[in-house]
């Protein structure tokens, strides 16, 4: 009986570790396909926002300030050349598109498109 329990425990542990490795590998594969990733992956979603009006570094500091105040945000980067704001969420961090758009508008800019790369599934359908 002890042997059976031991085998079952070992099996569960092995499967758990395997599943975690698979999940990590999948996220890593997704991130590899995001060109020029500028933010530090923190285990949560990676969000890329195309933004209009992003021409001034001094003014774009507003976006950095506004997003870093949100508890779900682990890192943020602004790409003036490609007019992109990149946001890395903390593991299990949630930042809905509606609030994200409001934060961009509150910073003084307009949202063109939001692409989201989740920890397990790429829901953007591209990139």
């Amino acid at each position: 009986m002890k042997m059976i329990v031991g085998i079952l425990l070992a099996l569960v542990t092995t499967l758990t570790v395997y599943a975690q490795e698979q999940s990590h590998t999948h996220k890593g594969e997704i991130l590899e396909h995001i060109p020029d990733l500028k933010v530090e992956d923190a285990g949560g979603d990676i969000i890329r926002v195309d933004v209009n009006g992003l021409v001034c570094d001094f003014c774009a500091q507003a976006i950095d300030r506004v997003f870093r105040k949100h508890e779900a945000v682990a890192d943020i980067a602004v790409d003036l050349k490609n007019k992109i704001v990149e946001v890395a969420l903390k593991e299990n961090g949630i930042l809905e598109d509606q609030l994200l758009s409001k934060m961009i508008v509150d910073s003084g800019y307009n949202v063109v498109e939001i692409n989201r790369y989740t920890a397990s599934v790429d829901t953007s359908g591209g990139q």
Binding site: F58, C59, A62, D79, L80, S107, G108, Y109
Partner: protein
Amino acid sequence: MRKIYCTILGAFLVSLMSLSVTARPVSYPGGWTLIWNTTGVGDSLLFHYSPTAKYSLGGLVERNRDLNTVFYGGQYTRLLKRWNTRDSQANLYFTSGLGAAFNSGTDDFTPNGNAQIAGFLKASADWETRRLFTSYSVRGNFVDTIPDRFEQVARLGVAPYVADYGELHTWLMVEIAHRPENEDEFSVTPLVRFFKSRFMFEAGISDRGEARLSATVRF
């Protein structure tokens, strides 16, 4: 003691005011901005707070060297309209100020004499890309016992290189000011602007040989 206190307070306020002249007059929600400015015409210090990205409220100290007056007051700025496109941004602002003006010494901010009600109205617009910048502002100043004064200022700037986010940005600019009531009605000031992160600094010399300096910090 009172004179020293007033001078320090005045210098601080003037520093704040200069920021508003040279940088965006409205910041992000919850953002504080400090602007200091000194030119041949006067000095200013502005400290403002933006509850939203649409307006800001601030305290302003401004000294006019021609009139030997110093203004202490509040300032309200409203972003009337912003145009964001893929490669440019344009803004239209309305600013008003109300406070008290005093006669002052020629080299300090010490109030001298009775306070006079004073204020100003200002409209300003700017347009910029990562390479080009242009702006225009028109302002009317009102002091109780002094004839109203008017000024308009235009700027044109070009970035000699296009820097990425977080790097040192450099702009070469020319400012043309028109002040009909002044002895020298027009002045032209070539200047250089630097900014990095939350800090902006400008330096220039006018065609009359007067230095222009300004600094802006956002919190």
